[in-house]
Symmetry: C2
Subunit: 92 residues, 2 copies
DNA sequence: CCTATATTTAGAAAATCTTCTAAATAGGCA
DNA sequence: TGCCTATTTAGAAGATTTTCTAAATATAGG
């Protein structure tokens, strides 16, 4: 939603690791959880933050929920950084 | 220093605003502080986090400390995001 | 319909973060 | 030297975050 939420979401190492996992394709909450030494509830918490930040979206299948990376929001963050860096192009 | 520190540093709105101010050129701690409704001590705290994350560097002059944006670290974050986004180039 | 599996929600504990006030440091200049 | 200005450090209060356990929800399949 807001940049604030997106940057907050990116600030946690677990959540960045989740995003990296999703780089290769969508995974269910359980599959994601199996990569971490944490309870499913904790993974669910992190996923909810990534979801609120629009960094991932979900789609249900059977009783699994698959999560997928939303590259367009990643792109938006890159644009903010590009503007901060400045000097290459993209000035108004 | 580490990505962890850099992303944490970027996760706070005050610190992102400081970086945006520095986009136009270096400013002293006091000049930075004058843009915010916060004590100098708090600004100093935020500057220390930006400094640890290598997002800014400082240089002293008289008894002022000027802060400057470190664009190379901004660049590194962009590269991480580009890799996450994937598909454009930069794969190993 | 009942049970088993996948995931989320609620609530609480512990850790971390943000902010303040007060005090310390450091440098320049009369 | 002694003071003034700029900034940081220390310590504490309050807010937010991360994690857990236990319970709730949802759905598939017998």
């Amino acid at each position: 939603m807001s940049f604030a939420e997106t940057f907050k979401a990116l600030s946690d190492p677990v959540r960045r690791d989740i995003l990296t996992l999703l780089k290769k394709g969508s995974l269910s909450a359980g599959e994601i959880g199996s990569h971490f030494d944490m309870t499913g509830a904790t993974i669910s918490y992190h996923l909810s933050i990534l979801k609120k930040a629009d960094l991932v979206f979900e789609n249900k299948q059977k009783n699994f929920i698959y999560y997928e990376l939303n590259t367009s929001v990643v792109e938006e963050v890159m644009l903010w950084l590009a503007d901060l860096r400045g000097g290459t192009d993209n000035e108004p």
